[in-house]
Structures are given as C-alpha cells and as structure tokens.
C-alpha cells in the first residue's frame, strides 16, 4: 500500500488541516505492510520505531528518531533527514481488528486495519472507487492499544459519515467531468453518473453553489460536454429534466422518473413494478444493482407499493418540515429523501418547472417552499446572469403565490443552512430582482404585497429582517449546549462577521465619543493584539489525553512551533512568564501548568527543536531565546564590535569566530590598538534593540568566555577586547611599572 506523506513542521509535529484536531497518540508503533508499501520512493516491508497520531481525519505515523539529523539547510517539509511521516485517511478504513500472537519471547500485539485501495495501491475513501481491500498492520510495542483502538473506530465512523456527506455534495460540480469521463454506454448510468447524488444532497446547497458557479465560468464551456452528453443520453420518455439544466450549465440532474430499461430488468427479475420504480427513483437510476439493494433494505417501508405518480397529491405540506428536519440532521432516511425527490424541479436557479409534459404531478403548493428558497438563492444572480443566461430558458417562471404557511416552513431552514443573515438576505433580495429583470422573467412575490418590498422601504425592511434573523439565530443557538454544538460553524461565522464590522467601527465609534451600549470599550485589548491572538490560536493543543506518554516532548514541539512568530516580534528573547501567558491564551481553555511549561522548555534539545533554547540569566530570570541569540552568534558579534578598525588596507576584514580570540590584531607602527570600548547600551543597540538587562547578560557571558575584558572606571563599565590573551605582552615591560 502506498501511503501519502504527511507534512511535518520544522520541529517534527504533523501539520494539521483546517478543522483537523488531534485525538490520541500511541507510542512505539511499527507499520507492517503486505509485501511492500509505505511512502512513494521509500517502500519497505515495515516501518519501524515510530509513533502514531490519531486525528479526526487521519492516522499519521511519524518516525521517532531520538534526535533528527541536523541538516545544513533545514527543509520546510518534514521529510528532511529521514524523518518519515505517512498518513492514512480514516475514511478509507473498513475495519480494525486486534490480533495477539503469543510467542516464547512474549506477546506480539497488532492492530490490523483493512483499507480500501485502488489500482495504484493507494487508499481511497469509502465513497470512492476502490478495487480491493488491503491490510495494514500496526505492531504495538508500547502501551496496550485498546483505548486507541476504540477511539480510532469512533473516528473512523465519523470520518466515513462526513466523507459520505461531502462526497455527495462534491460530486455535483464534478459531474460534467465524470459524465464525459465515464463514457458509459448505459443510459441510466450516464445520466445517473452525471447526477451522482448521495442521500444527503440538498437542493439548497446545490442552488447556492450554482449561484457561485454561474458567476464564475461561462455558460458555453459547461454546456458543451455536460449538455451534449446528457442530451444525447436522453431517451424521450425518461422524464429526466436534463434539457433545461444543460442550458444553464447546471451539473445537477434530477431524475424524477425511473429509467425504463432498468425498471424492465428489475421486473423481469421478479420484483414488483411499483417497488422497483420507487427504488430506482430513490437511487437516482444509478444502477439496477443498487436499486435492488435499496429495495431489499427498505422494502418494508409503508407505501413502497403505491404507484409513483399519485404520491405528491397525498403529501402536500407535511413533508416539507420533515424533509427539512431530515436534511438538517443529514440522516440517511430514504423515504424522506424520496419525498425530496418530488422537489427536484425546484433545484434550478431560476426555478423552472419541468417541461410542460411532466407538469402534472407537481402542484405548486408542494413545490413552493423550496421553490421560494431556491428562487431566492438563484434569483439573486438572475439579475447578473440575465443577459447571458436567460436566452436559453425554455419556460418562463411561474407565479408562485406563497402564503404565510410556506414562509413559516421557510424559517426552520434558515437556521440550519449556514449563516442566517445570508439566507434571509437572499430570500429578501429576491423582490428586488424582479424589478430589474422585469422584462423576461416573472416576478416572485414574498408574503407582503409589492409596494412594501421594493424601493427604499424594501431595503429598510430587509435590513431589519436580516438583523432580526441573526438575533433569532443567536437566541436559538444558545438555548443549550447541544444546540450550540450543532450550529457552531454558523456561530463562528457570525462572530467573525461581528469582529469584522465592529472591530473596524469600534475605533472610530469610540473615538467619536459614542456613549454606546454600556459606555465602555468592550474590546479591552487593542485590535492588533486581538488579531494576533486569533491568528496564533492553536486549534489542537497537546494535552495529556492526546499525547499520552510523549506529552512533554510533543508539548515542547508545539511550543517551539508556536513561539516562532512572537519571538521574532520581540527580538528573539522572551521571558518565561510572557511565554506562559501567550501560549495559554493560544490554547484557549486547555491550560498548561507552569511546571509543565518549564519541563517542555527544558526538553527543546531532546525533542529535536532547532534554534530555541531555555536560558537562565544570572539574575535568576529564565528566558527562551531564539536562534539569533545563541551564545556563539552573540560572541561573534561582540568580538566583531570590539576589534579595532584595520589601520592599513592590506589587512583583511576581521575574521569571524575563534580566530579573533587568539590571533594578534594588525600591528601598526606602535603598540597594538585597543579598539573601541563597548558599553551596555552600545551592545543593546548593536544586537538588534534588545533590552539593557539582556545586553548586560550577553556581555558578562562574553567576558566569561574570555572574549572581552572589563574596564570599570569613572565613566561606568566598559568592555574592551581581551588584549591580555590576544597581544603578546612584554612581561618585562609590564614589570617595569
């Protein structure tokens, strides 16, 4: 099995993706492959002596060298100098079994992972196309892996679920490529392949995505491959509403009728016609085999045997709420999704109903809630798209009279589908669009009459609705913890919006002497510090739970990664209390105690961190110094500062390093020049603006190494080059004094 490489930071910690969080760590782990495997270019039978990190998306194995080799040019990726890091996406894992082999020398404990792989022996997620199942062995030489295994199974479950959702959403834009790429002769699968939709597909999401797609790319490009392919694949009676979509370059294809060929196949196999039709519709004509699987799985649902055409009439308004709830929770309820299939026509951005022939089953009343939402999502672009797009539209928009009932059905959606203001804006923006697109399209009315939704009054009302919606969203989200968890993403977006708007306005607002709410500046820190804190935030802090036995080493690595930026800002030296404050602020509520911090700082060398060292100053202060403050560098700099300028041009520039200490300075005609004397403030300036106390420390350290000598006189303390050592002193002449 070929595993993709995982990126490592300079200190050896894995680079985590957006939204990825560490969960656990297992020490002393070997990877054993079937035959050979590993990173591309470094195939071996097994990778020995590493540790495994479990995150919520991947399983990362890292080489545990005691000290990585120091390279001349430290590489940015982690694969420098033989530290291998391989990652395995959790969505590709099928199962995990623990196997214990008892031998004379003891027990060999292994975790066997079954992984989906494709033709190139690379792992593919469960929803992708895989050819076989490969086995990866994890030999655990350290602590017992039972807890790790339980956590891994939990994360695998979540990763597979998340992957299924995202793949169904991601496949719709990929559809033109896949449609042209698959080149399948099977009509059903061609049109099905172009419209690969999982159980969690949402017309709203698709509509909003189309909004961005349509504004990006030109129509013609998309129409070509997608349109021609699917148009060619359209049998007349299939009822696939692809014709209209091809004109809008929409990759989403709605199947509302079962494919007759597949239906016939299933009937010949002995399944009841109505059941077969329903299961084909539910699996979107992907294939007869899948329809049969669906049928066998859900055959016991009530209503499976009812004929397909009559269902919309019997299920008007109830399903919208149910469907909304089910979509919100991304459940895999097929019957509810089946209901959703009734609303396929509503997915088109311009809310075009299917061509007149297929109009019968679809009543406006059952269509309208989603029609409104998607009309709004798409209608917002209608104005922009209008010059280019409308020419292809076959049917004009119908007048969809909405009642308050449907508007109330609209409400629960707004909370679940992302930032509430955005949604309501798009819903509320629609009335303005008909004003601009009055010529070719119909107008869409919301609840109130037209006079109150256009013009300035409309704008005012929309702003009010927007703020009311976000207020309601906040209220609902904070009802209890689980509500907050489920709407956390939208709340984060809202919080960032607040910061963006009010952070910018906060300064002029406060400066204008606005009494404001509360009369005090709510942001106690200045904006820059706050932005830095947000930028430096550590989303996956190392804790005892996530790191186990390697807690201090991983903590010191995370500290080193974190400190790179702040150290540079203060000139390379930071005292430990400041480090404590910044590090804990970045970690949020996961505090690290002062003792742990001290331990971690002492372990910099052992953890393989380049450049950072904990340094006790003579006054008892502990500081962490960056690479530019290492002792060698400082001594070199000070030696350079104290060498006298060369008297003649034949003498070369002052050599660096230890030569300066022993080599006699250039001799002029008389006794050797003493050179400039350094005071503490000179050194502070020369070393980059560090504080006076630190400069004193450096000078004292240089004196201890014999590079400079001191002169304590009436002008204060000054330091000169150590001429005692460097010059050949004439002892006889000295004795004469």
């Amino acid at each position: 099995m070929i595993l993709p490489a995982a990126q490592l930071t300079p200190s050896g910690r894995p680079v985590l993706q957006q939204g990825e969080v560490e969960v656990s760590l297992l020490d002393k782990v070997d990877l054993e492959f079937q035959l050979v495997g590993g990173l591309a270019g470094q195939l071996a039978e097994s990778y020995k002596n590493g540790y495994a990190i479990l995150t919520n998306r991947r399983l990362i194995w890292v080489d545990a060298e005691p000290i990585p080799l120091v390279t001349a040019a430290p590489a940015a990726g982690g694969a420098s100098s033989g530290v291998r890091a391989a990652s395995l996406p959790l969505a590709a894992v099928v199962a995990c079994n623990k196997k214990v082999q008892y031998t004379l020398k003891g027990a060999k404990v292994r975790l066997m992972l079954e992984v989906y792989t494709d033709g190139q022996r690379q792992p593919v997620p469960a929803s992708g196309f895989h050819t076989k199942i490969d086995i990866l062995g994890i030999r655990c030489r350290g602590p017992a892996p039972d807890a790790f295994k339980t956590q891994m199974e939990e994360q695998v479950r979540q990763a597979v679920a998340a992957d299924a959702t995202s793949s169904s959403a991601a496949q719709t834009p990929r559809a033109p490529g896949s449609a042209s790429g698959s080149g399948s002769s099977d009509i059903g699968s061609a049109s099905g392949g172009a419209g690969q939709l999982g159980a969690h597909w949402s017309p709203l999401r698709t509509g909003l995505r189309q909004k961005s797609q349509l504004s990006d790319s030109s129509l013609t490009v998309g129409v070509g491959p997608g349109g021609s392919q699917t148009a060619a694949a359209l049998p007349p009676g299939s009822g696939v509403v692809v014709g209209a979509t091809a004109n809008t370059q929409s990759p989403v294809i709605a199947e509302v009728r079962p494919d007759p060929v597949m239906l016939q196949q299933m009937v010949e196999m002995g399944f009841a016609r109505n059941r077969a039709a329903r299961s084909l519709v539910a699996t979107k004509n992907r294939g007869a085999q899948e329809a049969i699987d669906y049928l066998l799985a859900y055959g016991d649902q009530p209503g499976m045997d009812e004929p397909l055409d009559q269902s919309p009439a019997t299920r008007p308004a109830g399903p919208p709420q149910a469907a909304a709830a089910s979509w919100g929770t991304a459940s895999t309820q097929q019957p509810a999704f089946d209901t959703a299939s009734r609303f396929y026509p509503a997915i088109f951005p311009f809310s075009i109903p299917p061509p007149a022939g297929n109009d019968n089953p679809y009543e406006p009343s059952s269509q309208s809630p989603y029609g409104a939402v998607l009309c709004s999502g798409g209608a917002a672009t209608a104005g922009a798209m209008e010059p280019a797009g409308f020419g292809g539209m076959a049917a004009p928009q119908p007048q969809l009279p909405l009642t308050a009932k449907h508007l109330s059905a609209l409400r629960p959606l707004s909370h679940q589908y992302g930032s509430a203001p955005e949604l309501v804006r798009s819903a509320a923006a629609s009335p303005s669009v008909p004003g601009s697109a009055a010529g070719s399209s119909g107008s869409l009315d919301l609840v109130i009459g037209p006079s109150r939704t256009i013009g300035v009054a409309g704008i005012v009302k929309r702003e009010q609705q927007k703020t009311a919606e976000s207020g309601r969203a906040v209220e609902q989200a904070f009802r209890d913890l689980s509500a907050l968890m489920s709407s956390a993403a939208s709340m984060v977006a809202l919080a960032e919006k607040f910061r963006g708007v009010l952070g910018v306005d906060g300064a002029p607002g406060a400066a204008a002497g606005a009494a404001g709410p509360g009369g005090e500046d709510p942001l106690l820190m200045d904006l820059e510090t706050q932005q830095q804190l947000i930028a430096l935030g550590i989303s996956s802090p190392v804790t005892r739970e996530t790191a186990g036995a390697r807690y201090h080493i991983e903590l010191s690595r995370q500290l080193a990664d974190f400190l790179a930026t702040p150290l540079q800002r203060v000139g390379g030296l930071m005292s430990l209390p400041d480090v404590y404050c910044l590090f804990n602020r970045a970690r949020g509520a996961e505090l690290v105690s002062p003792d742990d911090l001290l331990q971690a700082a002492k372990l910099f060398a052992r953890a393989g961190v380049q450049g950072l060292r904990l340094r006790p100053l003579s006054s008892g202060v502990l500081v962490i110094q960056g690479p530019q403050h290492s002792e060698e560098q400082v001594c070199t700099k000070i030696a350079q500062l104290t060498t006298p300028p060369p008297p003649s041009s034949t003498v070369s520039a002052s050599p660096a390093g230890a030569d300066l200490l022993d080599k006699p300075p250039p001799r002029g005609n008389g006794p050797p020049l003493l050179g400039p004397g350094l005071s503490v403030s000179d050194v502070a300036l020369a070393l980059g603006g560090i504080s006076v106390a630190i400069a004193t420390e450096h000078l004292l350290m240089a004196e201890a190494r014999g590079i400079v000598c001191r002169d304590d006189g009436p002008e204060g303390l000054r330091f000169y080059r150590n001429f005692f050592r460097q010059d050949r002193l004439d002892t006889a002449a000295l004795m004469g004094f």
């Binding site: 904070f478 984060v492 607040f498 209390p577 804990n584 949020g588 505090l591 105690s593």
Partner: protein
C-alpha cells in the same frame, strides 16, 4: 429618480440625493445599533457557556476549537472558573493558573505604558474587567497567590513594595535602592522633578538626574517638558494611585 429639465431639475436631484444619503445613514446607524446589542447578547451567552459547560466543551476537541475561535473573535475570555473551597484552602484546581494567565496578560498589555511596573489596584481592575460580568470578582489575595504560583517560571515576575504600596514587576531588571526612592518620592502626586528629588532625598543633582534618566530609559518614567515654569517633570504611569483618585 428622474431629472427634470433646467435648474429646478438639478436642485431636485441634489435634494433627492441628500435625502437618500440621510436615509442610508439612518439605516446604517440602526443596523449598527442592533448589531451592538446582538454582540452584547452573544458575549453574555458565551461567558455563561464558558462557565457552566466548561467540562463538556473541553471534552470535544472539534467543538472546543470552534468555541475558542468564537471567544477570540468576540473578545470573551474562555478561562472562566469560579474559585472552589478546596482551591482556596489547598491551592488545587485550575483557578489560580487561569488567574496567573490573566495577570500576566494584564502586565503585557500595559507594559508599553508603564514600563513593566503595575500597581496592584489597577491590575485588579483590569483583570476583573477581562473576566467579564458573570464571575465573582477577584480579590487582591487571589492575585497574590496566583503570582506566587508563577514563581516556578523563574524570576522576573514578582511583587515589590515601594513606599507602602505594592506593585507587580513583570520585566526582569533590578530596581536598585535609588530607583525605589525615586518612586517613593513621586508616589504622592504621580510625578517628580530633579529639584524635588534633591530636596526630598537629599541627593546631589547628578545623582538625581542619573536615576531619573535611567528610569526613563527603562520606560518606567515619562518626560514632560510642558510644565508652566519650564521645569522638566518626570511622570510615572505605574503609580496609578493619584490619577485614579482624580478621575
């Protein structure tokens, strides 16, 4: 808006534009006002959640990361726990470590103004504001304990007593006796001058000048050349006592 012909049309257009601008500003003001209120509600909710559901938030790493992003954006401090009985008597629990983080943050934030020396009263006020409205207020004794827990991080962060008042020093560097004396002399009014030092402490002029200039170099003292009689005054922002009473 349609522009009529002639000057009347121009005037009409100008008036209409003016009206629109006013309406726009009105709308913007209302929206901003509503947003401020929502922000306050958001902040109050976040603080309450940070306090009540602390353990649950810490348990789920993905949600924890999102919660911290929210807090960082809104300016809420997620370190919020109340002192428990055991914590105060035996010194257990996270309370003092959190307080330590907040104390160091207070010193960091004001270091550019007072040079690294902050008096305890203003430190207390800062920390209480930062903790938000939901928690119990912090007392001086708590701050002292939190600082003592930071001792393991080496020197450079401790309490000094100058002339009866307590200050928190957060920069490494000694306050020798001369500097202490200067701060003592300036404690009454928050400022001093060379002449005053000479009379109050009985020093020669050069010594007083040396000390005050050293304090200025370290950032603890600020020079004021705008006094009415031209005398150079040295102000000490860290001696917040006098200024607070005036305000």
């Amino acid at each position: 808006m349609r522009r009529g012909p002639g000057i009347a049309g121009l005037q009409h257009a100008a008036r209409t534009k003016e009206q629109f601008k006013l309406t726009g500003e009105e709308v913007k003001k209302n929206t901003l006002q509503a947003m401020h209120e929502q922000l306050a509600a958001f902040r109050a909710n976040l603080e309450e959640f940070a306090r009540k559901h602390r353990a649950d938030i810490r348990r789920d790493p993905v949600f924890r990361a999102q919660f911290h992003t929210m807090c960082a954006n809104i300016g809420v401090d997620p370190l919020a726990s109340n002192k428990s009985l055991w914590a105060s008597t035996l010194g257990f629990g996270d309370y003092y470590y959190e307080l330590g983080v907040q104390v160091v943050e207070a010193c960091l934030a004001t270091r550019s103004v007072n040079g690294g020396i902050m008096d305890l009263a203003s430190l207390l006020k800062y920390v209480n504001r930062r903790r938000g409205s939901q928690g119990e207020p912090v007392s001086e004794d708590d701050v002292v304990r939190a600082i003592s827990k930071l001792k393991v991080l080496g020197g450079g962060f401790d309490l000094v007593t100058i002339g009866g008042h307590q200050y928190v020093r957060s920069v490494p560097g000694e306050l020798n006796l001369d500097k202490n004396k200067a701060l003592e002399v300036a404690q009454g009014r928050g400022y001093t001058s060379v002449a005053e030092m000479c009379t109050a402490a009985g020093w020669p002029k050069s010594r007083a000048e040396d000390v005050l200039q050293a304090l200025t170099r370290e950032g603890i003292a600020w020079v004021d050349d705008g006094a009415p009689d031209g005398l150079r005054l040295y102000w000490f922002p860290c001696l917040g006592g006098g200024l607070d009473q005036a305000a």
